[in-house]
C-alpha cells in the first residue's frame, strides 16, 4: 500500500514538474536557461515566485524577471497586462543567455526589446541552447509621477502545447515620488568612435566611406547617450589618442599656424554635440530633454596648439586663440549647462608626450597642469557663462595634487583604492567648489548580480559626486556565444537583432534601480539625517558601518609616490575589499526594503 502511494505521489510530482509555467524572480536573482537560478545569485530570499507582489514609488521603475518554463520543445506565447486605467507603462525585454568562455556557464545579461504578447519557441532559436527549458524576460514597470497611489493588479498569461498558466502580479504604488535629481552621477566611459563601425558592420557597409559623417552615425552616438541617460547615467566618449590624434567629429576643424591658427569649421562638431548640449537628443525620453552634464573636450598637448611650439610663443598663441573661439561659439549657441572638461588622458608609457596627464606619479609632471591652468585663464573670460572645468584623473599623487593644483584643477576623478585613505577629501574639495568622482569598472556577469550596486552605494557613502565605469561599451568580439564576462560592457550592439542602437543589460537595469532608490532614500535626510541613513544602508547592505568603507592612510604614503608599488596599494586597500568580496545576492534588496519602508510612511 505504501509502495502504491509512493508511485502515485511520484507520478503526480512528475506531472507537476512537467507542467508549463510562468514564474517570477526578483531582479537580483538571475534565471538560467534550464529553470534554475544562476549559482552566484542563489540565496534564501531568492526563490521562484508563483505570484508577484511589488511595491514602488512614483516617478521610477520597478523590475523583475518573468520566466516561461516548458517541459518540452514547442511554441508558446506569453503576455502581461495590467488594469487598463493603471497608467503603468510596461517595457519588456527578452534576456539573452550568454555562454562565458571562462566557466562555461550561462548568464542572462543583454536585453532585447520585445512586445507582449511574445510568441516564440523553446529553445529560443537564435540563442542556440540545445536543452533550454526556460526563457526569461526582464520586466520594467515605469510608474509615472502622476499615477494615483493604490494597489493595481495584473496578470501574466502563458499559452503553449504543454499547457497554459497564469501568474498574478500585484503592485502597490506609494505616494512618494522618486526625485528627479540623482545623488550620484554614474558615468560610462568610452574611447573614440571606431568601435561603432565594428559593432555595427552592416550599417558601416551601407554607408561605406560616408559612415563617419552620416546622420545615422550621429544618431547612433546619440542613442548611446540616450540609453545611459534613460538609466540615470551619463556617457563619455574621449575623442583623442595618447599621441594627440583627434577624431574629426570631436573637434572643430582648424586652419593656419601660430597667431593665424583659427577654427575653420564647426560642421561635424556641431552635428555631434549640438543636440547633446541643448538636450534635444533626449526628446521623447521619460526623463525629458536635458543637456548632457559633462563632456570631454578635444584639448590635449597636440590640440589645438601643435606640440611643435611647446614652450614657445606660438603654443600660447594657438592655444589661446582656438580655445577662445570655442568659448565664444559655446556661449553664442547657449551651451552653458554642460561642464566642458579640459582633460589630459595621455600617459608617457604610450610615448606620445613626456609627462603623464593621467595618474601622475612623478611630481615634476604637475608643472604642466599649472601651465595649462595659466593658458586656460588667458583663453577663457572669467565672466563666461560656459562651464569649463579642468579635470584630472588622479591616483598615486592625489594627496599632493589636491594641494598643489588647488584652484587649477576643479574636477577630480580619483582612483577608488587610494581615495579610500582620505575620508576628509570629498568635503575638503567640495568646500572649494570642486567636483569629485572615483573610478570603477562594471563587475563581470559571473559575480552576484547585486555586485553592481556596490559602486553607487560606495559613492553615496563617501559623499562624492560620481563614479566612472572605465569602459562600458566593449562587450568583446563575440558576446553572444563566447562571452568574456562583460567587465568592459554594460550595453551591447543591437544590430544583431535589427536594432540600430545599443541594448541595455541586466546589470545596467539593476544599477539604475539602485541609484533610483538612493535618490529616494536621500530625500528623507531632513527627517532622518544623512548620517543615520548612511549607517542604516551600510548595515543592511553588508552589515558594515560607513567607516569601514574607508581604509587607514598607510605609513608608506609619507614616501614619494614613485617609491610605492602596486602591491603596497593592494595591501593598503585590502580591508574594504574584504568587506565587499562576498556580497550576498539580496544585499541591495535589504536596502530597498528600508527605502520603501520610509517611503510608505510618507503621506
Amino acid at each position: 500500500m505504501l509502495g502504491l502511494r509512493c508511485v502515485v505521489l511520484g507520478l503526480l510530482a512528475s506531472a507537476l514538474a512537467a507542467a508549463a509555467s510562468v514564474e517570477a524572480l526578483p531582479e537580483h536573482a538571475r534565471p538560467d536557461p534550464f529553470g534554475d537560478i544562476v549559482a552566484v545569485d542563489r540565496c534564501p530570499s531568492c526563490a521562484w515566485q508563483k505570484s508577484v507582489a511589488l511595491e514602488a514609488a512614483r516617478g521610477g521603475y520597478v523590475s523583475f524577471h518573468l520566466v516561461v518554463k516548458l517541459p518540452e520543445r514547442g511554441d508558446y506565447s506569453v503576455s502581461l497586462e495590467f488594469e487598463k486605467d493603471s497608467g503603468i507603462e510596461l517595457d519588456v525585454f527578452r534576456e539573452w543567455f550568454h555562454l562565458t568562455d571562462r566557466d562555461r556557464s550561462y548568464y542572462p545579461d543583454a536585453l532585447i526589446p520585445v512586445r507582449f504578447p511574445y510568441r516564440s519557441s523553446m529553445p529560443e532559436p537564435d540563442n542556440r541552447i540545445e536543452k533550454q527549458t526556460a526563457q526569461a524576460f526582464w520586466i520594467d514597470l515605469w510608474i509615472p509621477r502622476d499615477t494615483r497611489s493604490g494597489v493595481y493588479k495584473g496578470k501574466s498569461t502563458l499559452r503553449s502545447a504543454a499547457g497554459n498558466a497564469e501568474l498574478p502580479v500585484e503592485i502597490r504604488i506609494l505616494s512618494a515620488v522618486v526625485p528627479d535629481r540623482d545623488v550620484i552621477t554614474m558615468d560610462h566611459n568610452s574611447y573614440g568612435s571606431s568601435w561603432l563601425a565594428s559593432q555595427y558592420p552592416a550599417l558601416q557597409r551601407r554607408f561605406g566611406n560616408r559612415f563617419f559623417s552620416s546622420d545615422k552615425f550621429f544618431r547612433l552616438i546619440h542613442s548611446y547617450h540616450r540609453i545611459f541617460y534613460e538609466h540615470r547615467g551619463t556617457f563619455h566618449q574621449l575623442g583623442y589618442g595618447h599621441a594627440g590624434k583627434v577624431g574629426p567629429e570631436f573637434a572643430p576643424a582648424l586652419e593656419g599656424t601660430g597667431k593665424r591658427k583659427h577654427v575653420a569649421g564647426w560642421d561635424l562638431f556641431d552635428r555631434h554635440y549640438g543636440a547633446l548640449f541643448d538636450g534635444s537628443a533626449f526628446t521623447g525620453t521619460r526623463r525629458g530633454p536635458r543637456p548632457i552634464p559633462f563632456v570631454y573636450l578635444p584639448i590635449n598637448p597636440e590640440w589645438p596648439a601643435s606640440f611643435l611650439w611647446w614652450g614657445e610663443p606660438g603654443y600660447e598663441a594657438e592655444f589661446v586663440s582656438v580655445v577662445s573661439e570655442m568659448e565664444r561659439h559655446f556661449r553664442q549657441k547657449g551651451w552653458t549647462q554642460t561642464r566642458m572638461e579640459v582633460f589630459f588622458n595621455h600617459k608617457k608609457r604610450y610615448m606620445g608626450f613626456s609627462w603623464d596627464g593621467d595618474e601622475v606619479r612623478f611630481p615634476k609632471d604637475d608643472a604642466y597642469f599649472l601651465e595649462y591652468g595659466r593658458l586656460l585663464r588667458k583663453a577663457i573670460p572669467a565672466s563666461t557663462p560656459v562651464r569649463f572645468v579642468f579635470r584630472a584623473d588622479v591616483s598615486w599623487s592625489m594627496e599632493e595634487q589636491f594641494r598643489k593644483l588647488a584652484g587649477v584643477v576643479t574636477m577630480w576623478v580619483a582612483s577608488g583604492g587610494i581615495l579610500s585613505w582620505y575620508p576628509e577629501a570629498p568635503a575638503m574639495l567640495h568646500k572649494r567648489g570642486d567636483i569629485v568622482w572615483y573610478y570603477s569598472g562594471p563587475p563581470e556577469v559571473s559575480k552576484p548580480a547585486s555586485t553592481i550596486t556596490r559602486f553607487p552605494l560606495q559613492g553615496w557613502l563617501w559623499g562624492v559626486d560620481g563614479f566612472i565605469h572605465w569602459l562600458a561599451v566593449d562587450p568583446g568580439p563575440d558576446p553572444w556565444f563566447h562571452f568574456n564576462g562583460g567587465a568592459t560592457a554594460l550595453v551591447y550592439p543591437g544590430e544583431r537583432f535589427g536594432v540600430e542602437s545599443p541594448l541595455a543589460s541586466v546589470r545596467l537595469k539593476i544599477q539604475r534601480n539602485c541609484v533610483q532608490d538612493l535618490a529616494l532614500l536621500e530625500s528623507f535626510k531632513e527627517q532622518r539625517g544623512l548620517a543615520g541613513l548612511r549607517r542604516e544602508a551600510a548595515q543592511r547592505y553588508n552589515k558594515s558601518t560607513p567607516e569601514q568603507w574607508w581604509n587607514p592612510r598607510p605609513a608608506f604614503a609619507d614616501q614619494p609616490p614613485y617609491e610605492w608599488t602596486g602591491s603596497d596599494i593592494d595591501r593598503a586597500t585590502a580591508a574594504t575589499d574584504r568587506i565587499l568580496e562576498r556580497l550576498e545576492p539580496d544585499a541591495w534588496q535589504r536596502v530597498r526594503q528600508f527605502v520603501l519602508q520610509l517611503a510608505s510612511e510618507e503621506k
Binding site: S194, L238, G241, H242, A243, G244, V246, R349, S354, K364
Partner: protein, 187 residues
C-alpha cells in the same frame, strides 16, 4: 623567420620598382631624419630608472614596468619637435617615430617617441618593448635605410640615427598609409 622572409620580400619588391611619390616623400624625409636627429640626445630620453624596471615583472603588480616608465623632458621634447618637423616635409599625413634598441637585449626593440597621426606599422598598441623587428635589425646593423611595406597600403622608411661616436643608436620610422584612417587609434 617567416616574418623576416616576408619583410625582405616586401622590401625587395618595393625597392625594385620605381618608387611612387608616396614612397619617395617618405624616403626623402627619412634621409633628412638620419641627419637631423641627434643620437646622443636620443640616448638621454628614457631615464635609467625606467630602463631598470622595463624588464621586471611581478605577478601581483602587472603594471610594475609601465608605472615606472619615465623620460627626461628636455631630451624628449627636443627630439620630438625635430620629428614633427621631419614629418612636415611630407605633403600628406605621416609620422616620424623614434625607435631604439635595448642595451644588452639584442632581441628587443622599443618605440620611444610617437606622433600626432598615431601611425606605425610595427608598434602593437601599448607595448613598452617588443621583439626585435628583422627590418629594424637590418637598419641598425647596416646603418642603411630600408623601406618596408608589411601591411597593405602602408609604407615605413626606417632611417638609422647615429651618435657622436658614429654608432647607430636609434632609428626613425617615417610611416604613412595611402588611405589614412581618421578614426584609428583614437583611444
Amino acid at each position: 623567420m617567416k616574418r623576416l622572409l616576408l619583410s625582405l620580400a616586401v622590401v625587395t619588391s618595393t625597392l625594385s620598382a620605381a618608387p611612387d611619390d608616396f614612397v619617395r616623400q617618405l624616403e626623402e624625409a627619412a634621409r633628412v631624419a638620419s641627419i637631423m636627429i641627434d643620437g646622443d640626445l636620443c640616448q638621454k630620453i628614457v631615464t635609467p630608472r625606467a630602463m631598470e624596471f622595463m624588464f621586471q615583472t611581478q605577478p601581483r603588480d602587472k603594471w610594475l614596468a609601465s608605472d615606472n616608465y619615465d623620460v627626461d623632458d628636455a631630451a624628449f621634447t627636443a627630439v620630438k619637435k625635430t620629428l614633427i618637423r621631419i614629418s612636415r616635409l611630407i605633403s600628406f599625413p605621416a609620422d616620424a617615430n623614434l625607435w631604439m634598441p635595448v642595451a644588452g637585449r639584442p632581441d628587443k626593440i622599443r618605440i620611444v617617441i610617437r606622433n600626432a597621426n598615431e601611425m606605425s606599422q610595427f608598434w602593437p598598441w601599448g607595448a613598452l618593448y617588443q621583439n626585435m623587428i628583422p627590418a629594424m635589425k637590418k637598419v641598425l646593423d647596416s646603418g642603411r635605410p630600408l623601406t618596408v611595406s608589411e601591411k597593405p597600403g602602408w609604407a615605413s622608411v626606417l632611417a638609422p640615427v647615429s651618435n657622436s661616436l658614429g654608432d647607430v643608436v636609434a632609428l626613425v620610422e617615417v610611416a604613412s598609409q595611402r588611405s589614412a584612417d581618421a578614426h584609428a587609434n583614437v583611444k
